[in-house]
């Protein structure tokens, strides 16, 4: 593979930003708006009260939200977003038990050249059913998703639900490999990232990001296990799975893993998430894998403890 930087514009996720609570409002913490300075300017000056705008709605509802279109919605930065070519967004709350730590917002651009899907699955009558989703032009896949539900352990959402663990699935377009493989194959979906999204109360949410070969959610995915029962009392994390367009498989080749990749708090971007317990967005600078210019990382909590970090590199 060549070593030059991968083009940013071919990823499905185009912009990532982090909002954190401060003095009763959500304020801008970080963001990567590299290709849309106007949207960056509109964002850094913004803050949201509970129930206000997309981050505020997530705070109020306590659950992830997919915004399929900005026009006519409560979205506050509509003009700047549209000007930047962004068409949709998913906002993910980060809760440690009942405490909102932050909201991570990912903006996508879907057109004929950008394909992907973002889904939120919610517990209903012993199963997970589709609560919301953005599919761009993948209408058959959207229809299949609305007509399906998952029991515990079944499929990507059910697997994430039962294991309470982020899961990266490959080859989702292959028959038998994914419950909606036929429709996934039609639109070229290749990789699925499933994330448990803990929220206050007993409800269960699983977020799935389905990535196409040509316009993936990201070019590199990493799942880090930070649970004390895995890595001990010291704040650190172990790389348990990952895929990279440049380096290939990122997981330990032996079982049990021999010298697995570890990272400690404050060491590089993942270490920053371990240290702060907050989502993190970085554009350029030290710590990014060779060939990458941008990344975002999401912490996932088990009750009050940081359990996993999921990182995507654009």
């Amino acid at each position: 593979m060549n070593m030059h930087t991968l083009p940013v514009s071919d990823t499905f996720v185009r912009v990532a930003e982090v909002w954190v609570p401060k003095d009763g409002r959500l304020v801008h913490a970080e963001g990567d708006y590299a290709h849309s300075p106007a949207f960056a300017a509109a964002s850094v000056a913004e803050s949201f009260a509970k129930g206000e705008g997309l981050p505020g709605k997530v705070w109020e509802s306590g659950k992830p939200i997919v915004l399929k279109e900005f026009d006519g919605s409560y979205f506050k930065r509509r003009d700047a977003a549209e000007e930047a070519g962004l068409t949709s967004a998913v906002a993910i709350p980060v809760f440690a038990e009942d405490t909102l730590k932050a909201v991570l917002v990912l903006f996508c651009s879907a057109d004929a050249d950008h394909m992907g899907a973002i889904e939120i699955w919610e517990y209903m009558e012993e199963r997970l059913t589709l609560a919301d989703g953005y599919y761009g032009g993948a209408t058959r896949f959207e229809a299949a998703s609305k007509n399906i539900s998952f029991s515990h352990g079944q499929g990507l959402p059910g697997g994430v639900w039962s294991a309470n663990t982020p899961i990266l699935k490959r080859d989702i377009g292959r028959a038998g490999s994914f419950l909606r493989s036929e429709q996934a194959a039609e639109v070229g979906l290749k990789t699925g990232l499933g994330l448990p999204i803990p929220t206050p109360g007993d409800n269960v949410f699983v977020l799935t990001l389905l990535s196409a070969l040509n316009t993936p959610i990201a070019h590199r995915f990493e799942i880090w296990d930070a649970r004390p029962e895995c890595v001990g009392a010291t704040r650190q994390a172990q790389l348990i799975d990952g895929l990279c367009k440049r380096e290939g498989a990122l997981w330990a080749q032996q079982n049990p893993p021999v010298d697995p990749t570890m990272v400690s708090a404050w060491m590089g971007p993942i270490g920053k998430v371990l240290g702060t317990g907050l989502p993190y967005v970085q554009r350029e600078g030290a710590g990014l894998p060779a060939g990458y210019t941008s990344m975002f990382a999401l912490p996932i909590y088990h009750e009050a403890d940081l359990a996993y970090v999921v990182a995507c590199y654009l």
């Binding site: 499929g155 309470n164 490959r170 029962e229 895995c230 009392a233 080749q253 079982n255």
Partner: protein
Amino acid sequence: MQKLVIIGAGMASGRMLEHIHETDPAAFSVTIFNAEPRGNYNRIMLSPVLAGDRSFEEIITHDDDWYAQNKVTTRFGERVTGIDRERKVVIGEQGEVPYDKLILATGSTPFIIPVPGHDLPGVVGYRDLEDTNAMIDAAANQGASAVVIGGGLLGLEAAAGLRMRGMEVTVLHIAGHLMDRQLDEAAGYLLKLDLEKRGIKVMTEANTKAIVGEGKAEKVLLDDGTELAADIVVMAAGIRPAGQLGQQAGLEMGRAIKVNAQMQTSDPDIYAVGECVEFDENIFGLVAPLYDQAKVLANTLLGQEDAFTVRELSTKLKVTGCDLFSAGDFAEGEGREDIVFRDPKRRVYKRLIVEDDKLIGAVMYGDTADSNWFFGLIKDGTNIEEMRETLIFGPSFQGGGAAASDPLAAVAALPLDAEICGCNGVCKGDIISAIEGGVTTLDGVRMTTKASASCGTCTGLVEQVLAVSLGDGFEISKEKPVCKCTDLTHEDVRRLIKSQELKSQPAVWQELAWKTPNGCHVCRPAINYYLISDWPLEYQDDLQSRFVNERNHANIQKDGTYSVMPRMWGGMTTPDELIAVANAAKKFNAAVKVTGGQRIDLLGIKKEDLPAIWSDLNEAGMVSGHAYTKGLRTVKTCVGTDWCRFGTQDSTGLGIKLEKKLWGSWTPHKVKLGVSGCPRNCAEATCKDIGIICVDSGYQISVAGAAGMDVKMTESLVDVATEAEVEEWVSAFMQLYRENAKYLDRAYKWVDKVGLDWVKEELSNPDTRKALVERFDISQSVYRKDPWADHIRNRSEQYQHLADLTEEAVA
């Protein structure tokens, strides 16, 4: 350049080739055969491929480019049909290849259980990419069912993968718990819970009888009559070394191809590596020793000294979210000590096995953070004497000073926000506040803070907080725990078994934080009884948790022989029964004693004769008198109105009815009944656990008498008019006693504790009485049976000598 031929492109030979090419790429001209139409891939990662957690491309270790770059001639998809050692050639389907050195790396094959239907289409082993693809294809049919036979590492990974792909999956495992070679029962229990949480059905002690279907597998039939729908059946019952080529070539064989420490076979020019070899009576299935072998073989071929040694192995299951670790030897044994830590809330179980001050085994579930450290202690044989007290807490706790070894100091050192009661989220500070507010007892803390009020496993900790805070002002509860395995009392355990719906012994050990792996001789019989009593339909009686008399269904005597006592309903017998008893007594040379309970005891029976004498008595229609049980013993009666001038009711008939209703039931302690036909009380009913005195107006039921170490007259429970009411009240009393008494409390002791007024109040309510009788009847639907007949049918071998040395000597 020497010609090196390799048969098998698996992980061992692949690793060996890497070593050779790293060290001396020009040393050999290499040809490699592989029956699979592809080169080397990371076979142990097929499970993640099945689950969709990896793609096949990701697990390829040597692709075509690698073989080309390293000038390896590949003969993939071609089977080797033989080896001619004379001519030193390998015979492939497409022709012969000469060798100077030959390596057999033929791996292993899945063991296919030879049940009827094992060769139907749809039955697959789990070994290679073809098997994996067959399973993925089966999963394409939405809503399809899979049955996985084998609950070991591979079977469970297959099950998890198939479930992720949307199939309805059942795992059948022949042993009592999953992964029984790697895990103990407690960890197996947690693993089962985790898999069930994923929607996988797990059946242990499941014997496959047949696989049936029209032209393909459709159902799996079990021994017990269970039928399971199956679109695909995965046989994951183990692997067998594939050593046939070596055998055909005349190499020395054991269970596999025998090699020395240089991986050399009995032919000096032929080597073997991987799962097809036997070294020092060991065969291999995990990858770590295969890699060691590969390195040794590469060095040997390159003329460097090296020797393979067997090393300690650890195990990790590749099912996302299941954290388990096992290493070393974890069997129980004399001189071995268990150190156990459980956290029911976090579903954590850790067990260390120590022998001669060394850690020899470790099993962990739910928290494996320190597994490498423990594994190191096992491998290195480190002396752990000085850290024994805190060993279970891992490396970060070593050298922890007083707080590490003194529980009270440790509690004192806890910060105020340290959680004490996980169930109710109560911190140490909450308890301290309650104590500062005037609370001085455990009950007070429970009422004020709810700590220890739910599962109760933090009771000891709460008491320690009280002790630390109040000093001499606090007295630890006088109610004793069941035994040293737990801080919980019998009453706590009974309550929690019901409230948490604990239906197996492993569930009790784990959820109630037992301090030992499987309980001890004190608690196991009690827990076994409580589970029988509360979950008669779900729980399977555990013979190993019974005292010897109950295990053997006879009373052991001081000379090691047994007494056998058939039941004589209400003390009545017949000439035929007496003839059968007499014949049995003569045949087995028994002493004969008429008992105070109106039965005949045959004494001096040898253990090995028990099934035969029971068989003879069964044939005469007689069943066990349960003279050895914590259950219904005898119902003593007088002759009643049939023969006695003073009899007011048919006391014999009523006694027989009661005995036939109550026999076989397990109770906290033995239960004796008496039914007297008039107040003269010839059946001595007023010193029994339950006594009935017949009077002209009906029946006086009294309870809680005793005539043993304690002598106590019964106390009146109720007077009723009809036999049916007697049956109802007696059954209800039995069930109330069964459900509430502490194990080994006779009825009179239990009544004394709870008060006769409470018993009367409960039983006076017709609805309560009816419900108790219903529950008793449900239990009796399982247990009202003759244990002798069952033992003759199913357990005769347990009464035989382990070996007949006489026969061996003759032979």
